[in-house]
């Protein structure tokens, strides 16, 4: 009988990503009702040093898939490794981060195992012997509770939706599983990472510029984001104008962000934009049009020219931070 939970982690720069701790913590909490063990899966090349990080968040057991073929985090290699780790752990539930890699793994894994999948979930619980997950649909306009009937239940968790909580007392016994990656069909030609940039979906603070920026000079919002240690986003209009890359777009056809603080500058607040930022904890809108729809979907608003207000805000924050 499958039992327990397998939490599949993801890393960057030889450390587990935050989403991995969120996934392990979610597993820890879920295991209180489903029963354990909680096993964390770590895949990559030279990953044994990461095992202790997984233990700190409460994994009872850690499975390592250590293979040169996993070093670039290519989806098809990771899928094979995860499938073999699932076979080894035989869990009732597989939890994974709904990152771009995690979504690929989850989708293919569900087909490979003929198992139910709930993607991009913001909550998960056990209800008797079935798993119930909550997921946004229609660009976040709806929240749906879905039941997963089948085994293992695969639940992909939206970054920043769950809390990462360090946990003590877990055994964290480490086991290496030999994986074969013979089925790999993708080859990597080039990898390009934007250095020094905070990923929007992981940021605590997001400062977004819209069409109100009037051009590709985003210096004022960049300065504010820097003062707050946050990331810069863009509305689709700003992307369509060619002012910002597509990867900066927030919204229904862009990224869904959930920072503690979201500051929209020169963004009108179209429904597709709101879909991408509605789950932010606190929303600030800066717009010169008092009638802009964004003012009815924010916590604090300032009416005025962003080119006066944003630098004033940056100066005030810098003063505060010394």
């Amino acid at each position: 009988m499958p039992q327990g939970i397998l939490a599949v982690t993801e890393q960057a720069d030889s450390a587990l990503k935050n989403i991995s701790f969120e996934v392990i913590s979610t597993g820890k909490k879920l295991a209180e009702t489903t029963g354990g063990p909680l096993t964390a899966a770590i895949l990559g090349a030279g990953v044994d040093a990461m095992a202790s990080q997984a233990a700190e968040y409460g994994a009872d057991r850690i499975l390592l898939a250590d293979h040169e073929g996993l070093k670039d985090g290519l989806a098809d290699a990771c899928i094979q490794a995860v499938a073999q780790l699932v076979a080894s752990a035989d869990p009732a539930v597989v939890l994974i981060g709904a990152t771009s890699l995690g979504k690929d793994i989850a989708a293919r894994l569900s087909a490979r195992l003929n198992a139910p999948l709930a993607m991009d979930c913001v909550a998960v619980r056990a209800d008797g012997d079935r798993i119930v997950a909550t997921r946004p649909m229609y660009g976040g306009k709806v929240l749906a509770d879905v039941s997963l009937n089948g085994s293992p239940a695969i639940v992909a968790i939206r970054p920043r939706a769950m809390e990462a909580v360090a946990a003590q007392g877990a055994a964290g016994e480490v086991e290496t599983v030999a994986v074969s990656l013979d089925g790999s069909t993708l080859s990597l030609v080039e990898k390009h990472m934007e250095t020094g940039k905070i990923e929007l979906t992981e940021a605590d603070v997001v400062v977004t510029g819209g069409r109100g920026m009037g051009g590709d000079d985003f210096a004022v919002v960049e300065a504010l984001a820097k003062a707050l240690g946050g990331a810069v986003g863009a509305s689709r209009s700003a992307v369509d104008e060619g002012w910002r890359p597509v990867s900066d777009q927030v919204g229904q056809t862009g990224k869904v962000v959930a920072p503690n603080l979201y500051i929209a500058c020169g963004v009108s607040g179209a429904i597709q934009h709101l879909a991408g930022m509605a789950s932010s904890r606190v929303v600030v809108a800066i717009n010169k049009d008092p009638e802009a729809p964004i003012f009815s979907k924010c916590d604090f608003g300032i009416v005025g020219d962003l080119f006066d207000l944003v630098p004033a805000l940056t100066a005030e924050i810098e003063k505060l931070k010394g």
Binding site: R108, M119, T253
Partner: protein
Amino acid sequence: MEIAVLLKQVPATESMIEISDDGSAIKTEGINWVMNPYDEMAVEEALQIRADTGGTVTVFSLGPEKVAEALRTALAMGADTAVRIDPKGKPLDGLAVAKVLAGELKKGAFDLIVGGHRAVDDDNFQVGPAVAELMSIPHISMVIKQDVADGRIRCTRTIDGGTLVLETTLPALITTQRGLNEPRYASLPGIMKAKKKPIDTRPLSETGTDPGAPMVQILAMRLPPQRKGGRIIEGDRAGDKAVALVKALREEAKVI
């Protein structure tokens, strides 16, 4: 190149969504149904590849009679043939849809299958990769650039914090991401021609695929908590407003 495109009809993104009385679906009255925006990119990319390499573009959709509209839009854009699989009211989850589509795709000899990386209704991110898995072919998701040559495809895809350039052999499946192309509008002659083209309609029961009972079921839908109108920070000059906002963010909201 024989190219297949997977497409779905969805509520337009500006739609107001309301929940049906039994709480397990959305109200469909008054909704403007359109082709999923990522699938428009899939059709566009398929047409561009066909222009380079020759061949055909076949569009597939699974859904009730109404989805023929989205298929006709694809035909009007320039697709050669359209196939609609009619579930006849049978409930299907994402994996079940993938099983049915994979079953139909296996009957053809497609070099390349193109889909959207997600449909903006279910936001499932599942069907494309699952179809590839069920067909035992490689897939590359969230593609913003591709080149096909000599039985191989090279794609640039987005990942969190960067991009990858990947290569694989055909047949393969790719999913589209914003930045790949700007979908064309159907021309008037295209629309006229599309009206006359038949849509190959296949009842699910005659496809030979039994997707089984859905393993994922919607129990209940609700609207998320809505923000009310925000407090407008007043002040004489920009500096005064900035001071007041920072104070509010620090003392009330406690986010900085």
